[in-house]
């Protein structure tokens, strides 16, 4: 089994790195997804062309190979070295931003044309229509697929272990080599990834409820999950339990 020392020196910092990489990549991907996704609904062909080109290129690129390219090829071409963690975040942010842009574009396209017309009739500019009318209405539709994408991104962060970023998978491999026991450590890794994904899902569920409440749709009843939620007696929910919007039930 893994010793306490190994756990504290390698594994825990690795978990923290995984969280950081996930967070930074997700943030970058979110910004790209919204910018590219809204650009792709533009009426100007040139804007659609530029954003569409971005989407096609980065959707079709292997994040892993792109990481290798950033870390091993870029320095040869430009005499310019990226910090490995930054390279990892960049590769995943750009790739997942492309995937996310499709979700944003699709949800925006699903907002009824009548809403655009109502906005136009009241004199809103294109930007105001997007900001005040179309994005807020499309947002609840985006949350579930974005949740999927975020979990995929979390699991994809294991790729950074191949470019020497000491994330949790990297630490796991170190421990495995040190202990020459692979079953316990890989099982532990699977469990930790699962727990992280589960926490993300729970968090996104709260976001989804809030989003739906924000367009006047009653939050969906999820009594089964309510019962499962880790709630401190008498207090606010601890692990993102949806106590805020659901109210007292």
């Amino acid at each position: 089994m893994m010793t306490r020392g190994m756990f504290e020196t390698y594994f825990l910092p690795g978990v923290w790195i995984t969280i950081q990489v996930t967070l930074y990549s997700a943030l970058m991907a979110a910004v790209i997804a919204f910018v590219i996704g809204t650009m792709r609904t533009s009426q100007l062909w040139i804007v659609r062309f530029i954003s569409g080109t971005y989407f096609e290129i980065f959707r079709g690129m292997s994040a892993l190979v792109f990481m290798f390219w950033l870390v091993f090829s870029l320095p040869l071409i430009f005499q310019w070295q990226l910090v490995p963690m930054f390279a990892g975040v960049l590769a995943m942010g750009l790739t997942y931003g492309a995937y996310g842009s499709e979700i944003v574009r699709g949800a925006l396209a699903a907002v009824p044309v009548a809403q655009r017309e109502a906005g136009l009739a009241l004199g809103f500019s294109r930007f105001d229509r997007l900001r005040r009318i179309e994005i807020p209405q499309a947002w609840p539709e985006m949350v579930p697929p974005l949740n999927n994408l975020l979990i995929e991104l979390l699991k994809c962060t294991a790729l950074v272990s191949t470019i020497t970023v000491a994330d949790m998978t990297f630490a796991g491999n170190l421990v495995r080599i040190g202990e020459s026991e692979s079953a316990p450590i890989y099982t532990l890794l699977l469990v930790v990834y699962f727990v992280m994904a589960f926490i993300i899902t729970r968090g996104m569920r709260v976001v989804e409820r809030q989003a739906k409440a924000g367009i006047g749709q009653a939050p969906p009843r999820t009594s089964f999950w309510e019962k499962l939620s880790l709630r401190e007696p008498g207090g606010e929910g601890t692990t993102g339990a949806p106590s805020k919007i659901g109210g007292a039930q």
């Binding site: 009548a114 809403q115 017309e117 109502a118 004199g123 006047g216």
Partner: protein, 274 residues
């Protein structure tokens, strides 16, 4: 309270009633091979209420949508309050209008849709204040004050804090009327505003509109199949058929003694339901 609906107040140009406010010049509009409007010309004077009637597909709604700039004409021009809506004058020539020019002229026009089209992500009050605040640049308390007055006018003061999805169709449509009026347009387009409502909710909406038509100094362009309503509020009725005006005149004349055979035929079909 009804004084707040005064359409000329905010836009400054207080024009004598009777001056021409909207003019369609030889407008042609095609959808594919179908010519929906065929060199149509007509005008509406300030303060007048004009109702467009005619069989479905005769181009009535298209006229309102052209005026609201939701469509652009294939040929011809539209003038609103002395400004071209479809063009822009540059060095004495008429050119394609800039987005900014269209937005400026469009401010004079308001529209209420058949399907209400309220913003589901905003509560009732914000539906009405959003455009005055962010398009006209009104300070928040002024926009709220204006909205509250209008929402009271349409009889929904107790629903300020609800989402559109929590209201009935008739209530939603009354909010939509308040929302359009909050922009203080000079022309209000009403596009079959009761057609999507359950029968028992129609009267409430029409009463509100009758009230506005009587008390407010606003020009109205109305497409409706509610003939008694049309008769009550209209100064003039235009009968459409196949993209052309085939008959026009005061409501009493059109509804009791129409000259054109198509008008008689249309009216008898519509009124049979009553």
């Amino acid at each position: 309270m009804p004084a707040s609906v005064d359409s000329q107040e905010s836009n400054g140009q207080s024009r004598a009633s009777g001056a021409e406010l909207v003019r369609f010049n030889k407008i042609t509009k095609r959808f594919g091979d179908v010519k929906v409007l065929d060199e149509l010309s007509f005008s509406v004077d300030t303060g007048k209420h004009v109702t467009l009637i005619g069989p479905s597909g005769s181009g009535k709604t298209t006229i309102l949508r052209l005026l609201m700039t939701l469509l652009t004409p294939d040929e011809g021009s539209i003038v609103v309050d002395g400004d071209y809506l479809t063009h822009q004058e540059k060095n004495g020539k008429l050119v394609k209008p800039s987005e900014k020019h269209v937005r400026e002229v469009r401010k004079k026009i308001g529209m209420v849709f058949q399907q209400f089209n309220l913003f589901p992500n905003m509560k009732v009050l914000r539906n009405v204040t959003e455009a005055p605040r962010h398009v006209l640049g009104l300070p928040k308390d002024e926009a709220v004050h204006r909205a509250e007055e209008l929402i009271e006018l349409v009889g929904l003061s107790e629903h300020l804090d609800k989402y559109p999805s929590q209201l009935s169709g008739g209530q939603q449509q009354r909010v939509a009327i308040a929302r359009a009026l909050a922009m203080r347009p000079q022309v209000l387009c009403l596009d079959e505003v009761t057609a999507a409502l359950d029968p028992e909710l129609v009267a409430g909406v029409l009463d509100v509109l009758r009230d506005i038509a009587q008390t407010a100094d606003i020009t109205m362009l109305v497409v409706t199949h509610e003939m008694s309503f049309a008769r009550d509020i209209s100064d003039a009725v235009l009968m459409f058929d196949a993209g052309k005006i085939i008959e026009s005149g005061p409501p009493d004349k059109i509804f009791t003694d129409p000259e054109h055979g198509r008008t008689r035929e249309f009216l008898s079909t519509v009124l049979r339901g009553l």
